[in-house]
Symmetry: C2
Subunit: 141 residues, 2 copies
Amino acid sequence: MQISSRFTVAVHTLLVIHTFKDQKTTSDFIAASVQVNPVIIRRTLLSLKAAGMVEVRAGSGGASIVRDLSDITLYDVYRAVECVDGDLFHFHENPNPACPVGRNIHAVLDCHLADAQRAMENELKKVTLLDITRELQTKLN
Amino acid sequence: MQISSRFTVAVHTLLVIHTFKDQKTTSDFIAASVQVNPVIIRRTLLSLKAAGMVEVRAGSGGASIVRDLSDITLYDVYRAVECVDGDLFHFHENPNPACPVGRNIHAVLDCHLADAQRAMENELKKVTLLDITRELQTKLN
DNA sequence: TATGGTTGTAATCGATAAGATTACATCAAA
DNA sequence: TTTGATGTAATCTTATCGATTACAACCATA
């Protein structure tokens, strides 16, 4: 199983808003670049808005980024749109407490899973949208 | 979306086989500890066998670990049972090449996603089954 | 203020994947 | 040969994602 594309869609969305900040970046416009349904983009924007990253103009249309790009990490975007209830690894629900292994499996495994998840998240925290937009600019030249 | 429970089920399975190595660890026996259907355990064992970690006695029943515990990392188990085609993050399929963002989104994002995935996997590589069994033994005392 | 384009949001659909379960052929040892 | 396991296919349920349709609410502007 994979982490859903909501994350990459959200990053793409933010990059479009930034790149075309002089135009009206409607959900249809963004959807044309991402090539997903506009409703997906609207839902993505709702999540990003809830996280305080963008503002969306209902009625007139368009979205803008309202936080400094250097203050938005990939991790922030990941958390804003991904439905992770906190745990990356799904644990089987009912290990048998009557068994010494079942009774202790969580105690011996949880910390290692948390370490792995944290390592992944820390990597995402290292990269800001500013970094990404600069890399994008380099590609465009 | 989460990584499936196949991974934690597989680790649990290996721990049961090791902990009860003096008994006949059938799929029913293991399933009773994990509390999943025995067929799930049999499929898990098939994967672990394909990865050269266990041998399973068809007919007579039971499974054994056939590699040194210090030579089996959590990452090995993860790869053996998890259907990851390689990528942890699912990328939206068709970014629009006619858009400067769509055309370059992979170029600017892929390496960061790979870094994050690698960081997670490296953490899993640090932990061996020997470590886990020792921690389990500590809990049991 | 009437219009038209846009957002917010619900509802439905199809696809995919996981795990549960049933069934049974195959196998190996007693 | 009987008995208890494994190997494996098939089916079912459930959950989630993304696509899609539909429409009310919204707002700038003509």
